[in-house]
Symmetry: C2
Subunit: 341 residues, 2 copies
Amino acid sequence: MAGTGTNGTVTMNDVALEAGVSIKTVSNVVNDYPHIRPSTRAKVEEAIDKLGYRMNFSARHLRQGRTGIIGLALPELSLPYFAELADSVIRAAEARGIVVLIEQTSGGRQHELDVLTSDRRQLTDGLIFSPLELGPDDAQALKVDYPLVVLGERIFGGDWDHVTMNNVDAARAATQHLIDQGRRRIAVIGAHHGESMGSAALRMLGYQAALAANGIPLDTDLIIEGGLWHRQTGADSTAALLDSGVEVDAIFGLNDAMALGALRTLHARGIDVPGQIAVIGFDDIEDSQYSAPSLSTISPGREQIAETAVDLLLSRIAGDDEPFRRVITDYSVIARESTEA
Amino acid sequence: MAGTGTNGTVTMNDVALEAGVSIKTVSNVVNDYPHIRPSTRAKVEEAIDKLGYRMNFSARHLRQGRTGIIGLALPELSLPYFAELADSVIRAAEARGIVVLIEQTSGGRQHELDVLTSDRRQLTDGLIFSPLELGPDDAQALKVDYPLVVLGERIFGGDWDHVTMNNVDAARAATQHLIDQGRRRIAVIGAHHGESMGSAALRMLGYQAALAANGIPLDTDLIIEGGLWHRQTGADSTAALLDSGVEVDAIFGLNDAMALGALRTLHARGIDVPGQIAVIGFDDIEDSQYSAPSLSTISPGREQIAETAVDLLLSRIAGDDEPFRRVITDYSVIARESTEA
DNA sequence: CCGTGACTTTCTATCGATGTAAATCTACAG
DNA sequence: CTGTAGATTTACATCGATAGAAAGTCACGG
């Protein structure tokens, strides 16, 4: 830490003096400029080690106009799905030499809009955005002048890149899985009534498609509304469902958290899972493996989503001008105890 | 977005030209310098709005020598305890106008050491560090020349600030809670044999103290080792415990994840909780409320830890030279179904 | 011995904002 | 009408690194 500068900081200039070369040569060494005499490189590297020089990123960023930081805006980290998504995104970014600034938008629609124009955008080279509340009406707000990759299917077809899974097909597969186990009275929890483009609506479409394909009539008494997709919602919705007295032999939780909440209520009521009621979720969060019984679910390919999103964003930051892309990742049905035959 | 600069960016200089004042005056307005004529302020603000000016943080940071970013190093976000901790830290930081860069150190001891000297440190004004593997031998590595706040009790008394809960007392309280329910054969899962300063060791001390205080002999057959505190470890340890045939009427999981894993194994084996075996965890992660049965646990006061850590770090960044502090936060026993009378 | 082209290294301006100190402007007492 | 303290505003250097182009070096053919 033996700095030569006025304060404790060692700058490139200090290194240059120590090595007896110009500042630019030090910069060239640090940036792997190809035409440097090995002996010069050695001198510089020695000086760097000796002085303990570290790059001042603010200076580099100022000069280059980039920060090497990308933003990740998501509802909240305490929701396991998003925590795991953040984990994957950070790993993917790290592998590519950039860092991630996480912003939580838990406050609702306005908070989600704010994140798009926040001062923080000035600090990041681009944004990966996973909205929960925005709808088609907010499309205009997403027309921003910085690289943006949107996750999820809330808003289609705008002028931005999109990475998502096929919610409709995946939900159909989940429902089909229940039907294959002989279930016919399949309830859904977490529906959002007025919505047309969100995950809830899309997954409902898949549910309905599966019923139709199997000649099972749709019974609206089996569809339970539920705003926030938290465990408590799942627990409450299931209680309401059971209290309504309607016949049920399976529950499709539109996400794992709600399905886990459902398991909790079923357990409390002494209802056997999957004996009396089978349960399937959606997301494949880590918890689902460890619930009692373990939860069948849909794996959305989180790693793939994260890597794709990061790659896409980085290519935009690098100046890629191709037309906006929509990438659809793979899903798979994970059968566990809660739907065992 | 109507930039005046060469590229699309609007700088303070553009604003100054538009408003007919000097750059410095614009800077003064933006920074709330008190002696500005209201009319001047109005002109500048109007120009800012008109041009859509946004501060270039890299430039400010270069000049000020600070980045306004703090680092948060933790094992991994997919562990619920850390995801929730990160949530709290981000909120606390946001309330104070700074942003958080999360770094995952899941790779083990070396990865934890690396984070302390990483290039990223140059990008942050300080670090909140929650190590999982470092031990007393690594004390030297924690003597860094930037503001550092360490969470947890792995390493005591060094030259850095520390925020932690009282693991010993809290574990004693958890054990006492089981004893109060009439349990005498209390197993512990997640012990770390050779360790002396980590959470595992401290919680074991509390456990032993409670047994001693109640005249219950310590039976080493009831102590199950377990490296990583994941659910799987809890599930496996519990299976091993049951297979060993030793008499057990309660299990103390040294964290919630393991306790939840224990519940899973107990459920699989058809053992009634708490009828045959009571279970208590440690951490009070959100899941614990929703397991079946819901899990009794120790709440470590996560919000308080986060806020304290952020405040402490910020005061160090601001130049606070007081002696290093150790802050101990409050805990509480949360009694739920898994230990019901 | 000199010119030429391929390497290497250095010079100089700049990225955008802020600290310092000096320059201007009031407003009001003398 | 002048001086002066206090309020406002400005000029200028500077934070640390990088782009671009000029300037040196060097080996080699003519």
